[in-house]
């Protein structure tokens, strides 16, 4: 089993980065494959050497986080396609809205299982960005495309269910702070792989 993770940034101490790192390291520990695609901001990170970290450069500054992220995703698509198509990665795992365009493009083009973790929703963050409506729409699109949506808390679960209209059976709370972590997430990967095998 090989999982490619998309994260806007990847640096020590960042909450989403630590979440991705814990899953990626758990996968390689168990003999699976893991790769992380993130923006190359020059940040320092430490991770098990068996995890492949692919940094994407972006020669676009943009005038907003939204437009910058959209263009970053174009770079991520190229790297993700190489992993999924040429190197037979099985699953794409996106994190928050800022990696949804890349993940959904891969899901649509290569028909691979997609997991999306919503670490928080735009509604929870206060809907205060000039492009909040577009960001929230991206969350909605990501949840719609994903085979499974993961959240870390009850609050986000409620927001995902009510603000983003995600059906209850599609979303799961898997809190990385609990002792059992990351087994519940790995089981979700396995179940998606099994579904793929049945389909094939």
């Amino acid at each position: 089993m090989k999982v490619v993770f998309l994260a806007r940034k990847f640096e020590d101490g960042d909450k989403i980065s630590e979440y991705v790192k814990s899953l990626a390291e758990a996968l390689v520990e168990r003999g699976h494959g893991a790769a992380i695609i993130a923006f190359d901001d020059g940040a320092y990170y430490s991770i098990d050497k068996r995890v492949e970290v692919i940094r994407t450069d972006l020669h676009y500054e943009g005038d907003s986080l939204y437009s910058w992220s959209m263009m970053l995703n174009n770079e991520m698509k190229e790297k993700a396609r190489e992993l999924l198509e040429d190197r037979e990665f099985d699953i794409i795992h996106a994190n928050d809205w800022s990696t949804v365009p890349g993940a959904t493009a891969m899901k649509e083009y290569l028909d691979r299982p997609m997991v999306l973790t919503i670490h928080s929703t735009e509604n929870e963050r206060g809907f205060s960005d000039p492009n909040s409506s577009l960001i929230s729409e991206m969350e909605w699109k990501g949840c719609k495309s994903a085979d499974k949506v993961l959240v870390n808390s009850e609050d986000t679960l409620n927001s995902v269910k009510f603000d983003l209209e995600v059906p209850e059976e599609k979303v799961k709370i898997k809190d990385p702070i609990l002792d059992a972590w990351p087994e519940p997430a790995l089981k979700i990967y396995e179940s998606l792989i099994n579904v793929e095998e049945v389909k094939n």
Partner: protein, 380 residues
């Protein structure tokens, strides 16, 4: 070949010249045996076949903060449509038009692993500068498009140098292919114009067609109007186009009263009628990468008085198919328009030459062939 066109405007949605360009190019390619597919903006998701071209429309999110975010959001929908289509049919390449197509065209290029051709129709720097963050972000997108493209097409000879300098594009991948004119469209249009709605019988129509923005120079023509009328009281100025119409109308009415008419929305048919009826068209642009008006007027056998700038250096041959003026110089406009109006036989001769030159040099059949030649280079 099966190119996938990405353009934010395609008829009947038209804001500038990109829509007509894409339609004429795609239609001509289809008539030559190619299979162009177009993804563009629409109010709702729909698909249509027109003149051999498969057209897919996707809506945009209207809650965007500005045009860049709007284009990014539209791009995401365009890209998903493109991916969906690519699973059913193989595209040879992606052909994006102007900066608003860059996010979707580059996204599709990277997802589908296809070459990309990028046509630059105008630049942010030329349109209204790169002073604000917003303007710089558009400039940056234009650069990104030229950087990611295997081949870049520009529509004007001078403009080719401008694009090379602005974005450091190498000589190897930049191509100059002019715009064209669909002569049949002009010939077949039944131009039964209600002339009395625009001018009196004895008046000579001096026609301006274009968006009413400083870039198109309507202010310079308005400044020249009183001087032209002193020389030629028969002149009647007809100003067609959208934009800051009320602003320019107020200034022009103050200057020359009833001798200028702003008809507001004019149908394509009436516009062709006006071009055929006009004594002369005036294109006083300050910045004009190509400038289609002189060619459209030429299709109607009408000569153009146009600024010696950008593409009009090529599309007007001074004293053969029209007259050049110094850019941003109302005295020069006044002088050349008066010359043309004072000698109707000569301006007719200029108009005839203009038509002949368009027939020989600006036909879409030829432009389509050049474009597919560029596609071949991109695929190598």
């Amino acid at each position: 070949m099966r190119p996938l066109f990405i353009t934010w405007e395609y008829p009947p949605y038209k804001a500038g010249g990109i829509a007509a360009h894409c339609e004429d190019l795609a239609t001509t390619m289809a008539s030559q045996g190619h299979e162009p597919v177009v993804i563009t903006y629409g109010e709702r998701e729909e698909k249509e076949y027109r003149d051999g071209v498969e057209i897919h429309r996707v809506p945009a999110n209207d809650h965007a903060d500005n045009t860049i975010s709007w284009a990014m959001s539209l791009a995401d929908r365009m890209e998903k449509k493109g991916i969906h289509l690519a699973r059913q049919k193989n595209f040879d390449l992606i052909h994006g038009h102007d900066w608003m197509a860059v996010p979707a065209a580059t996204g599709l290029k990277k997802t589908l692993d296809l070459p990309m051709v990028f046509t630059v129709h105008s630049t942010q720097k030329g349109r209204d500068g790169i002073d604000s963050d917003y303007q710089r972000a558009i400039h940056n997108l234009e650069w990104y498009g030229t950087y990611e493209a295997s081949e870049v097409i520009t529509v004007g000879r001078d403009f080719c140098d401008e694009v090379k300098d602005n974005y450091n594009v190498s000589d190897k991948k930049i191509n100059y292919i002019p715009n064209g004119v669909n002569l049949e469209k002009f010939d077949e249009t039944n131009a039964s114009l209600q002339r009395n709605n625009f001018a009196l019988d004895w008046e000579q129509i001096v026609l301006f067609v274009g968006r009413m923005y400083p870039q198109k120079g309507p202010g310079h023509l308005i400044e020249a109007m009183p001087h032209i009328l002193e020389e030629k009281p028969e002149a009647k100025f007809v100003m067609c186009g959208s934009g800051a119409t009320e602003h320019y109308k107020g200034i022009a009415k103050d200057q020359v009263g009833d001798k200028v008419h702003f008809p507001g929305y004019v149908s394509d048919q009436a516009l062709v009628g006006l071009m055929k009826e006009a004594e002369i068209t005036v294109a006083p642009s300050v910045y004009e990468p190509f400038g289609i008006v002189p060619l459209e007027a030429a299709a109607c056998e009408t000569a153009t008085v146009g600024s010696y700038t950008g593409g009009m250096k090529d599309t007007i041959v001074h004293e053969y198919t029209g007259l050049h003026t110094y850019p941003e110089d109302s005295g020069s406009i006044s002088h050349q328009v008066s010359r043309a109006l004072n000698d109707p036989g000569w301006s007719d001769w200029l108009g005839d030459n203009a038509r002949e030159r368009v027939e020989d040099n600006f036909r879409w059949e030829q432009i389509s062939a050049w474009t597919t030649g560029v596609y071949t280079q991109a695929l190598e």
